[in-house]
Every structure is written in structure tokens, then in C-alpha cells.
């Protein structure tokens, strides 16, 4: 199993605070895109995200940006320089036409606008507007599930990911937001069991950070801890030492952001991620597993020799002294510029991978989706598999991550956090959405006995929240037919219940006269519910036919709820 040890699946909404907005906007201003577009992007993003909790609609977002940019005086000046038959000029004549564009069209249009402006913009060293927009499109996805799906679609079934939770907070007052991010990230373990290994964020600015971490590691499928001290906290505080002691004792791996780029609270807090601070910490906790994300920054590896004094060198020194020190190569896009920088980078990396002290400590990571500012996940993987030998890539993407995470294998048993992960998946087995890999199935048999197994998962399009008929059918059932326990199992698991499990079901235990009236009541109620919430009838359907069909559906105990949902889908539609 190949593992991407450094990724993110949160969306902009899930980490939004006033603090986040500032940090995110700063990140955008650092992108190498034309100033005019940059201004509009940050302006629109600020407006959209300031409506905290509301749906962030990427289509509206991009439409507003295109409208604003194309109506600006600067852009009109640029347009004047274009030929009269230029396609961009033709496309932007008449702002109303923008309403006809879907997201794809709007993004394409914005790229063209960016290219046109970029030719005139002296500040834009490189007009990588397409990557910037793609990054924003992922950030604006409606949920963590959507972001995860985009990532997993680019990987094979043999690939796994460590998603790192971000906790950007000022004083911890936004605990509901973090709780939602944790819950949604935990749900991804069930969506991709055995392939998603989330790390919980610790930020000592949040008073409850320790209990949140404990709970996540004990029973929510989290297997490690993410630190991001440049967000404004010290790694040397007593609170942090309590965290280190906990992690060292239980074999919990830590991953800390360790480059001078990325998110930061202020210029002063950037140095909170300095690996030199860790010598003293590791003296006290020598068995701690700590991975320095980004390896201190790719820049030092693109030099002919790794400088004697730099963050990367400090990390290498720590590796020679402490067995639990790792580093990942996430967001190492500098070598992709080619030239001597690329040659030096891979020469240095190969040397490290041949040196016994370092060979077992380097991990593969991409920093998805933040790395989407430069390139896609698929291309990132492809780039490194092309430039490293098969053995070298296996070392950093399979052997080392397996040891770092504590996955069960021929030479080691499952670590404490991984054992908790296995228990979590087994306890939640009714909610799994995809097939588990062999290692997880075997681990479950080892832990629970040879007869223990995972049920066949995933209903896919048969029962999908994206299908509004299914979603509204679920809500109808949640409003009076499902018990609290059933609802707590989640939408997907409810799809695998049968009609017999609903409140109305009493066939065989009451007179037929009563039962027939109940079927009518159920059919009428559901029809009313669909219609009142904007549903309409499919062609050749009407109220009478719908009621008759629903009565038949509700009359069969063995019908799965997802099957009933599919049957409703043949009768109703939503705009």
C-alpha cells in the first residue's frame, strides 16, 4: 500500500474563522497571479466566507469574480488591445451572457482573462491562474467529503492518505467548527476504510486541545497528531510536553509543519516551526515519532549540497540522534521548475535514500490540496515515480510510512493508535461506504477472531445524498419514522435498513383494515412532503398514480430503504 503521508481534506468552510479568513486571504495574495484578479478573488472570498455557516457556492463565486474583473477599467483597457475577432472579446460582450456559463465555463473564461491581463501585468511573474483557480475550486467544495472524493479519485485502490486536520483558532471559542471538521474527517475513515488515516490537530490556543486529541485518538479513527506552531503557539510549552508524553507512551506519530512558507499567524510565529527547537524536546522524549513536514522546505535540497545551516540540515542531524525522527517531501514543487535545481534535488534525495541513517526516515507526501496551486495530485505522484527508482519510491511511499504509522506487517504488530483505528472501523462497520483493503480485513480477523468480517459496503448512486429524492426521502423518514439510534447511524447506514425497521410497520400485528389505512397515510404523507419541498412528478406520473405506487412500496417489509428511495426516484424529481 502506497501512502501519501501529508494531505488535507478540509474545505474553506470547515476551517473558517476570522483568523482563517485573514490567513487564507494572505495565502492568495502570495499567489503569482495578476493583481486585478487577485484583488477580486480575495474580495469575493472575503464576502462569501464572512457569511459563516452558509453554503459557499463556487458558481456564484466565480461568476462574481468574472463579472467584476471584466467590468473593470483596467480590463477594458486590456480588451482594447485585443483584435476585434478575439474569442475572449466576443465572449465577454454583454455581461448577461455570463449567466449561461456553468462553473467549468466560468473558470475557463477567468483563465483566459488572466492570460490576457498577465501579458500586460508586470507584477505577474508567472500567470498560473489556472492552478490558482483549481485550488480555490477545491477549497470551495461544499464538504470535506467532496474534497476527499476529488483526492481519492486520482489515486488507485492500493493508495492511502494521511489527511491532516487544521485548527486555526484565536482562543478556542469556535469549538463547534472544529468539532464538525473532526466529525466530517472521521466520516472519511468510513468512506474509505483502511485508506484514510487522519491526524487530529493540536493547537494549545484551544483550552480543550488535550481532551479533544484524546477522544479523537481513542475512538474516532484518528491515528496521529498534527502540529502547526506557526499558527501562533510554542512547541516548548508545558501543555505541549503533556501532549508529547501522551504520544510517546502510546506510539502516536506526530507531524509538524516545518517550512518557512505555508500558513502563519504573523512573521514572528513562522520560527515556531524551527526544527532546532526539537533537540531539547527529543532529549526528554527520545522515543517520540515526529515527522517534519516539507523537510524544512524543498529549496535546501535543490542546492548542490544541502547547506550546513538550514532547517533541512537540522532535521537530518536530529535523525542521526533519534530513531523516531522522520521528514516528508510534501509540496516540493521547486524541482519541477527543471534545470540544475531539479538535478540537485534528486541527487540529494538519492544520496539520503542510500544513507542508512536517513533511508528509513523519509516519507512521501503531496500536501494535497494546497499543492493544487501548482499541480494536480496525480501529476505529483507521477513526477516522483518518474524521477525516483522503483525501490526508492517504495521506500518513501510504502516501507517507511508503514513503520511511521505502526501498521501491522511481517515485522511489526499494529501500534496502539492503529489498533484503535481497527476497532473504530469494526464498531462502525454498518456505516462503511467502500471495500476495505486486505490488511484491514486480516487485522479485524486477528483482533476479533476468524469469523469476524466487514459487511459489503457502499450503495453508491443507489442511495446518495446528492440525489435529492433520496435525500428528501431520508428526511421524511427522519421526521417520525426513524428512531434516534437509527438516525445516529447516519444516512448511508439508514439506506441498508428495511421498511420493517420503520415506526409505521405493524403488518401482521393488526387488522388488515387498519394496515390498509396506514399504507394510505404513509403514501399521502410522503407525497405531501415531496411536493411541499419542491418535488414534482416524473412524466406519466400524477398524484393518484404516485399514491398507489407508494402504497405498494410501503407494503413490503423486506424492501431496503435505499430500494424504496430508488422507487421514489422513478416517481418524483426535484429541480
Amino acid at each position: 500500500m502506497r501512502i501519501n503521508c501529508h494531505a488535507h481534506v478540509f474545505n474553506a468552510k470547515s476551517v473558517f474563522t476570522s483568523e482563517t479568513l485573514e490567513i487564507l486571504l494572505r495565502r492568495i495574495t502570495e499567489m503569482e497571479i495578476p493583481a486585478l484578479i487577485k484583488t477580486e478573488l480575495t474580495d469575493q472570498l472575503g464576502k462569501i466566507l464572512s457569511k459563516a455557516g452558509d453554503y459557499v457556492d463556487e458558481e456564484t463565486f466565480f461568476r462574481n469574480v468574472v463579472k467584476k474583473v471584466s467590468s473593470s477599467k483596467e480590463f477594458k483597457d486590456v480588451l482594447k488591445t485585443l483584435a476585434s475577432n478575439d474569442t475572449l472579446k466576443l465572449e465577454l460582450q454583454g455581461g448577461a451572457a455570463l449567466q449561461d456559463y456553468a462553473v467549468e465555463g466560468l473558470v475557463r473564461l477567468l483563465e483566459k482573462v488572466g492570460d490576457a491581463i498577465g501579458q500586460e501585468d508586470k507584477d505577474a511573474a508567472k500567470a498560473d491562474i489556472g492552478d490558482a483557480l483549481a485550488f480555490l475550486r477545491i477549497a470551495l467544495q461544499p464538504s470535506i467529503r467532496h474534497v476527499t472524493d476529488i483526492l481519492m479519485e486520482q489515486l488507485t485502490l492500493q493508495d492511502a492518505v494521511i489527511p491532516l486536520v487544521m485548527d486555526i483558532t484565536h482562543d478556542g471559542s469556535d469549538e463547534k467548527l472544529l468539532e464538525k471538521q473532526l466529525a466530517d474527517t472521521s466520516a472519511q475513515v468510513l468512506a474509505y476504510p483502511g485508506r484514510i488515516f487522519p491526524f487530529v490537530a493540536v493547537n494549545t490556543k484551544r483550552p480543550e486541545h488535550f481532551s479533544i486529541m484524546e477522544a479523537a485518538l481513542a475512538g474516532r479513527g484518528f491515528v496521529g497528531v498534527k502540529l502547526y506552531p506557526s499558527l501562533g503557539y510554542s512547541v516548548n510549552s508545558p501543555e505541549m510536553f503533556k501532549v508529547y508524553a501522551y504520544c510517546e507512551e502510546r506510539g502516536v506519530p506526530i507531524l509538524m509543519h516545518c517550512s518557512e512558507g505555508g500558513f502563519y499567524y504573523s512573521d514572528e510565529t513562522r520560527t515556531n516551526s524551527d526544527p532546532a527547537l526539537w533537540a531539547a524536546i527529543l532529549e526528554k522524549h527520545p522515543n517520540l515519532k515526529i515527522c517534519f513536514g516539507h523537510f524544512g522546505g524543498a529549496t535546501y535540497l535543490t542546492a548542490a549540497e544541502i547547506p550546513a545551516s538550514c532547517w533541512t540540515r537540522t532535521i537530518l542531524d536530529l535523525m542521526t540522534k533519534f530513531n523516531g525522527v522522520y521528514a516528508d517531501i510534501a509540496y516540493h514543487s521547486e524541482p519541477m521548475d527543471g534545470g540544475t535545481g531539479e538535478q540537485n534535488y534528486f541527487k540529494n534525495l538519492s544520496v539520503l535514500l542510500q544513507t542508512p541513517a536517513y533511508r528509513d526516515r523519509l516519507l512521501f507526501g503531496t500536501d494535497y490540496f494546497l499543492s493544487r496551486q501548482r499541480l494536480t495530485e496525480k501529476i505529483y505522484w507521477k513526477y516522483f515515480t518518474k524521477h525516483l527508482s522503483e525501490n526508492e519510491f517504495r521506500q518513501i511511499s510504502e516501507d517507511n510510512p508503514q513503520r511511521y504509522l505502526g501498521l501491522p506487517g511481517e515485522t511489526q504488530k499494529a501500534s496502539g493508535p492503529i489498533a484503535n483505528y481497527i476497532r473504530f472501523v469494526y464498531q462502525q462497520r454498518g456505516s462503511l461506504l467502500s471495500e476495505s483493503p486486505a490488511w484491514l480485513k486480516n487485522a479485524i480477523k486477528e483482533l476479533y477472531g476468524p469469523t469476524a468480517s466487514l459487511p459489503k459496503p457502499s450503495l453508491g448512486a443507489k442511495w446518495s445524498w446528492n440525489n435529492k429524492v433520496h435525500a428528501y426521502f431520508y428526511v421524511f423518514l427522519a421526521e417520525g419514522q426513524l428512531s434516534d439510534q437509527q438516525k445516529a447511524r447516519g444516512f448511508e447506514a439508514v439506506g441498508m435498513l428495511k421498511l420493517r425497521d420503520l415506526a409505521y410497520w405493524n403488518k401482521g400485528f393488526e387488522a388488515n383494515e387498519i394496515w390498509n389505512l396506514k399504507l394510505k397515510a404513509m403514501a399521502e404523507n410522503l407525497d405531501s412532503f415531496f411536493c411541499a419541498n419542491g418535488g414534482g412528478y416524473e412524466k406519466k406520473q400524477d398524484t393518484a398514480k404516485a399514491i398507489a405506487a407508494l402504497q405498494k412500496i410501503f407494503n413490503n417489509a423486506s424492501t431496503y430503504i435505499h430500494e424504496a428511495g430508488e422507487a421514489c426516484d422513478a416517481i418524483y424529481h426535484f429541480a
Binding site: S483, F491, R500, D501, A521, E524
Partner: protein
């Protein structure tokens, strides 16, 4: 096997029904062609057993109905008035073994649904939604006026009937709603058209009969423990009373019947027991449901297994 089945069929008793079936099809033909009428039917072949003998049988249920008036579907208190013509029963190869009546009726039904759909806004996450406008479900009330004709398959005993039915059902059982019963009350006047049985008893009175049913489903598992969510208790009460029957019936205590049943059911939900048992129930019942003539106390245990 085929010859045994053919021998079991009493073709003589079937003959009078053939014109009736043909008439039904002829009458219903034009009606079925019209879109505004709803046509529902079910035919189910099977075996009918009685007195240790068996006979092939065909269960049928045919109903033609039309909603004559209704109120908008999207609002609270949805209501309608409908008319229907229906026939149901079982045709057995050996009519003497058939103890199910053949029924035909026509009538009007009006109902009011004490339900207002909540207006919701779907969230991003599966299962997430916000209620924009609260709804309620206080059950459904219906009232029917019926006129019908009933007969046994041999046409030896035939009645004209007229009456009314009132029903109240509640499809939810969370909280106090579990204590609210679903109720059905039927009251019929029975005009004796022809009865060999009554003639033999030296009597041929018209009669009246009432049926009162009530049922409850209590989610006791949810009340006891989270792990017992699939456990439910069911209560079923039925009362039948006929007035004006011949003295012989009254003396035989056949003019009144009570049936009481209590059951516990458990559904294994997504995880069948041993991979094969989907649901199980145990029922204790006492009394009788006509046309059964003897009161009995019965314990029934049922399993649903190997469900797909």
C-alpha cells in the same frame, strides 16, 4: 399432479361465477380506458386447505376508484372524496372447501390527513438538514359509506350489506404517540338475500354487525437500551358483535367474538442473526376472529430467514 388438481376442481360450482367475471370485465373495460379512473387488481394463485383437504384456489382483488374531489397536496390537512367499486375473495377448485366469502362493494370514502409536511433545507453532509418550517403528524381520519353484496362460492348463502366505516390511524410511535391507538370501526346492516343455513335453522332474519379494532405498536427496545432498538411490542384488540342473528347462533355464542393479541418482535436490521435470521416474533393471542368458531389461546413464534 396435473390430473389430481383437475380432479379436485368442482367445475359445477365454478360455472355461475363465469358470467359474473365476464360481466365485470365488460363493465370495467370502458372505465379502464379512461385515465381519470384508477384500476388496481391482484390475482394470486395458491392452495386452499380446509378439513385436512386441499384445493387449488385463485385469490383476487379488483378495485376501480376515482378521486372526485381533493384539496392541494402541499398543505396541511390534505383531504379528498373518492368513489369506488371493488370485488375480492378467493375462487377455489372445490367450492365446498372455500370458507372465504366473495365480496363486492361500492361506496364513497372521505378522509382528512392531519399532517403538515415540514419544509426543510438540505445540508451539505449526508443526513444534514435544517427545518425551515415545522410540520406535524396527528394521524389520518377516514369515513366510508358502503353498499355491497357477499356470498359464499357455492352461492348458498348470500347477503346484501350496507354500512359505514370509520378509521383513525397514526403512523408514528415516538414519545406519547406510541400510546395513541389506531382504530377502525365498521357497522353494517345485513339483509339476508338467501341462506340455506338460516333456512335449515328455521330462521331468516336481517341483522346488524359491528367490528371494532384497535392496535398499538410500542418501541419498547428504544425505551430500554440503545442496543435493543429493534425490539417492539404489539397489541391487537378486535371485537365483533352481530345483532339479530337467529337464536341458534346466539345459543352457540357465535354472535359475539373478541380477539386479543400481544406480541414482541425483533428486527435484526442490517445484521441478521447468524447471517440468516432477519426478524423474529412471539405472539400470545386469545379469542377468535370470525369465521373461526372456537376461542383459543395460542402462542405463535415466527422467524423471517434468508431474506435477500
Amino acid at each position: 399432479m396435473q390430473s389430481i388438481i383437475l380432479r379436485k376442481i368442482n367445475w359445477g360450482a365454478m360455472l355461475p361465477l363465469i358470467p359474473a367475471l365476464l360481466l365485470l370485465l365488460v363493465v370495467s373495460g370502458p372505465v379502464l380506458a379512461a385515465d381519470s379512473w384508477d384500476f388496481n387488481y391482484r390475482f394470486q394463485p395458491g392452495l386452499l386447505t380446509a378439513a385436512s383437504e386441499w384445493t387449488p384456489a385463485l385469490n383476487y382483488d379488483v378495485k376501480i376508484s376515482k378521486v372526485m374531489w381533493s384539496q392541494p397536496e402541499k398543505q396541511a390537512f390534505r383531504k379528498y372524496l373518492s368513489a369506488h367499486v371493488a370485488s375480492r375473495g378467493a375462487l377455489a377448485g372445490d367450492a365446498d372447501l372455500n370458507n372465504e366469502p366473495l365480496l363486492a362493494d361500492a361506496g364513497f370514502t372521505t378522509a382528512i390527513n392531519l399532517y403538515r409536511p415540514p419544509i426543510v433545507s438540505l445540508g451539505d453532509q449526508p443526513g444534514e438538514y435544517k427545518t425551515v418550517e415545522e410540520g406535524f403528524n396527528r394521524g389520518r381520519l377516514s369515513f366510508s359509506l358502503l353498499a355491497g353484496y357477499e356470498s359464499d362460492q357455492t352461492l348458498d348463502n348470500r347477503n346484501l350489506t350496507g354500512g359505514a366505516e370509520v378509521g383513525y390511524v397514526l403512523t408514528e410511535n415516538q414519545g406519547f404517540k406510541a400510546l395513541v391507538p389506531s382504530i377502525f370501526v365498521g357497522y353494517d346492516f345485513v339483509f339476508n338475500d338467501h341462506s340455506d343455513l338460516e333456512q335449515d335453522l328455521g330462521d331468516k332474519d336481517d341483522s346488524r354487525r359491528v367490528r371494532v379494532f384497535a392496535s398499538w405498536k410500542l418501541p419498547v427496545g428504544q425505551w430500554i437500551a440503545e442496543t435493543l432498538g429493534g425490539l417492539n411490542a404489539h397489541f391487537d384488540l378486535r371485537y365483533y358483535k352481530s345483532d339479530g342473528l337467529s337464536k341458534a347462533y346466539r345459543d352457540a355464542d357465535q354472535d359475539e367474538a373478541v380477539y386479543k393479541a400481544a406480541a414482541l418482535s425483533y428486527s435484526f436490521g442490517t445484521e441478521p442473526l447468524w447471517g440468516v435470521v432477519n426478524a423474529v416474533y412471539v405472539r400470545l393471542s386469545n379469542g377468535r376472529i370470525p369465521p373461526v368458531t372456537n376461542d383459543d389461546t395460542t402462542v405463535t413464534v415466527g422467524l423471517t430467514v434468508w431474506e435477500r
